[in-house]
Subunit: 534 residues, 2 copies
């Protein structure tokens, strides 16, 4: 059963090894956990629905309290605190479960007539407030796409698969795998997030180096709007004017509800493996990662942890004896204190992967990288989707954890990374609290890369105090990112949390273009209000 | 000196070998050339300008007849017939030559105030009527960007170069080459077309398989609009809402005038070579080309001629003795009558290109391809930008030549190719005229490819008759393309000629989105009227 107040499956818990606890305590002190609200107590708070369902929609829409609780919040830290405290604020007035595009169009017509706000809901994994209802004085209906979760068509000539927009990652891959194909889109939210959500929020997966971002995978599909059905035909490439697909990508429910998604798929690879290299310092590690991508070495995945993340990962890994041996070995090879861990994946035919490995090792070696083989890479692959469960483990220990991510050009990577880490590390100093901050680079481009920073701090004595701590860190660092050539989000989208920072990034005229698009399709602003643009 | 009434440099002429003439005569009969108008006679027809230049713009704007003649038409076949007959129709009222973004903004303000139509002009190489003035009862000012032709900045860390939008292909490459870099964007119009024009019309180069289309190369820049300056910051990738760059790409002067373009560049490669393989038949050749791209073999360029194009190219190549020897050799290896020629390029490090060649040869061999080495590939590379000069040579012989191009998914390639060729081949049958038609595939994607069809027909007894022949062929085939899952253009853009077919491709709601964008930035519709959307 899915957790109603946190990440993932109730049956799965990530254990924190003892030395991991000691490590955190030494950095930011011991935590004191806050008490959790119960599902029953929250359901009791859900107000009467404001929706009056017409007869033909009764079976489609659930207005019961539990469904409304389970669809009220995503997975941002603010959402987490709301769910654990039981202080949800606004609930949707009902949850619809359409099974066809036609039913979605029916819901749209009804919403337009009644001025009901519609919120499209995929996996509910947003960490930026995309799916949270806001109180605008009108009823809110959340449209859960989970019943549209099938592989509708697979064209093996053109390598295009058509999915219902509510298909979550595991069902995307298992349905394709049955035919010998993969989409290759593996965001960390893979377990729950959906193909429609990936398109609506411009998602990027861990192996985007091979398969591309969702922008490259999204070939077309169907969007139900208040103006009618928008069909996006599949065409490999076109010079015929502005690309409508690119207006739907990142539209976050403001233009319409995506119901069918056509994606570019690939035959399952002959070979895939993940490898780990340690570098003596950040400078050499960053240079190697930049050269790997700028030389077009055929990697499928690349991730570079800075020294603190490397240290933290080794401390939290457990197995202190094995890790100790590894560290002595690395130290002898020149990668001691301050070492940085790189993980890379190679995927493809035997010939391609053999050559890619050769190229990659040669570039790393030239930067004094110490290659350690696939053992740690296999560990990364085995745990690649479990990191969100860490929040639960830390929460039980009295810690809050969140991440911030951006992307910027290579000439600005070190500068922006430094600014972000300093802002987070010092953000709670006036409260005499330390923050444990570490970063990796991932999603590499010849032009630059994404910067993904994790920060851990102790919860306060109350939920209010904890939320205030988070707001302090999130706000100041977000401002800093957009004022220093970073995007407000490389892979999490805008939602409501990032909307205040979007105008700096897009500029006045960029915002004008986006607003004009939204109001062309939704003149009365009933779709997902306050998301993307206020 | 640039030809005023045709393609390229006056000093360069492509000779048609005798057997090429015989070949065409045997296919469609001998031609009877039409008489050309002189530049003087056309200049004499240019009406008085309707522009009253304010003092500060006098030196910026040329209202003399020759400049106005030279900027009145592009390079479509209809433009060609207008230029050769001297029947231009509408001329712009003047030509501005701004040197800075600020001057462009001054021109925009003046145009808005006086309701003057502005047409941005790059290399004047449009084959779809992008830069042709139309008579809307108001003066027309063509804005020639050729004085903004410099490399403004090169960031070698992030591999981003900033160019003035009017920089033509050779100046892009020579200025980058001086620093050891290349953009790698080589459309057939490379000699004259500009980086701003590439962005405005979503251009694609011959080596897009390595370097990407202009969509992938365009990192940001500056656009002057009637609402002010739109700055597009460089960010490697972002999930922050719809991508504004993608709205400028393909905007064809309807949103604003692009003045600066930031592009992603690459260090000059260690190795580059072009190779030719012949296949016994179309089926095996098409399969090989699909597999080459779907296996992600690191090619930089791929082109596959069908049997008639292969035959035509060999006939027009001259050197009948050498070609005869080649054909006997190929025939012995199984590639006789009906053979298809594939050219592929490999570019990159020695290791990468060695491996790519190995992979490519193995895939081709499995489809019975006969590899012939680099000799014919070198010929292709040497002549890669000279094909547009062929129109001049054919014109002198009384033939008109034009091309049609589209892109579609693999499952539809053979169907659409067949429809296009049949439509063109039979299009003049009721006039008892034959059309010589041949096709190649180029610009390959895992999902599909572009289809590029050339057609040659005899000019009529008059310009009117010749234009009518072209219109018959162009109209019916364009309709057929958009009604059969093809894009109205993979690489030439929409302009005025393709605008009638765009609504079928984009759909009613796609057109609504594009129109709303245009009118947001240009509510009085003074920019490049009737281009892109009517």
């Amino acid at each position: 059963m899915r957790r109603w107040n946190g990440w993932g499956d109730e049956g799965f818990n990530l254990a924190m090894p003892e030395q991991g606890q000691d490590f955190l305590a030494s950095r930011i002190g011991s935590g004191r956990p806050l008490a959790d609200a119960t599902l029953d107590s929250v359901c009791a708070k859900v107000p009467e629905t404001r929706l009056t369902r017409p007869a033909d929609l009764v079976s489609l829409i659930d207005t019961g309290p539990e469904a409304r609780v389970r669809h009220a919040r995503g997975q941002s830290l603010a959402d987490w605190l709301a769910m654990r405290s039981g202080e949800f604020g606004v609930f949707p007035d009902g949850v619809a479960y359409p099974t066809t595009s036609e039913e979605v169009q029916t819901l749209l017509s009804w919403a337009a007539e009644q001025h009901i706000h519609l919120i499209p809901y995929g996996g509910g994994t947003s960490v930026a407030g995309h799916i949270n209802p806001v109180d605008k004085g009108q009823p809110v209906l959340t449209v859960d796409m989970s019943r549209m979760n099938r592989l509708i068509d697979l064209d093996t000539d053109s390598q295009i698969a058509t999915f219902g927009a509510g298909t979550p990652g595991p069902l995307v891959e298992s349905q394709l795998r049955a035919h010998g194909y993969t989409l290759g889109h593996f965001p960390q939210s893979f377990e729950l997030s959906t193909v429609g959500g990936w398109v609506a929020s411009r998602s990027s997966g861990q192996q985007s180096l091979r398969y591309g971002r969702i922008e490259q995978l999204f070939a077309g599909g169907r969007v139900e709007t208040l103006q009618g059905t928008l069909n996006l035909p599949t065409i490999p490439a076109s010079s015929a004017g502005p690309d409508i697909r690119e207006m739907i990508l990142g539209s976050e429910g403001r233009i319409g509800l995506i119901t069918e998604v056509k994606v570019r798929v690939t035959p399952l690879p002959e070979h895939e493996s993940f490898h780990v290299v340690f570098f003596p310092d950040w400078e050499s590690a960053r240079t190697a990662s930049r050269l790997l991508v700028q030389t077009r070495t055929q990697l499928s995945m690349l991730r570079l942890s800075n020294a603190v993340e490397t240290e933290t990962q080794l401390a939290l890994a457990g197995h202190p004896r094995l890790i100790g041996m590894l560290e002595r070995f690395l130290s002898l090879r020149g990668a001691g204190e301050g070492k940085c861990m790189m993980t890379f994946g190679i995927t493809g035919s035997r010939l391609q992967t053999r050559n890619a490995l050769k190229e990659a090792r040669s570039i790393c070696k030239a930067q004094n990288g110490v290659y350690t083989g696939t053992r740690l890479g296999d560990k990364w692959a085995a745990k690649r989707f479990t990191m969100p469960y860490l929040r639960e483990a830390l929460w039980q220990m009295g810690y809050a954890v969140d991440t911030l991510e951006t992307a910027t050009d290579w000439d600005n990577v070190d500068n922006l990374l430094g600014l972000i880490e300093t802002s987070l590390r010092d953000g709670l100093k006036d409260q005499n609290e330390n923050t444990h901050v570490f970063t990796h680079l991932s999603h590499f481009y010849s032009q630059g890369c994404s910067i993904y920073t994790t920060y851990v701090f102790r919860v306060g004595d109350s939920y209010e105090e904890t939320l205030a701590r988070w707001q302090t860190l999130k706000t100041s660092t977000s401002e800093l990112i957009v004022n220093n050539r970073g995007t407000i989000s490389h892979q999490h989208g805008v939602g409501k949390d990032h909307a205040p920072y979007l105008p700096v990034e897009k500029g006045e005229l960029g915002m004008l273009a986006i607003r004009s698009l939204c109001s062309t399709f939704d003149p009365d602003a009933i779709l997902n209000p306050e998301t993307l643009v206020k």
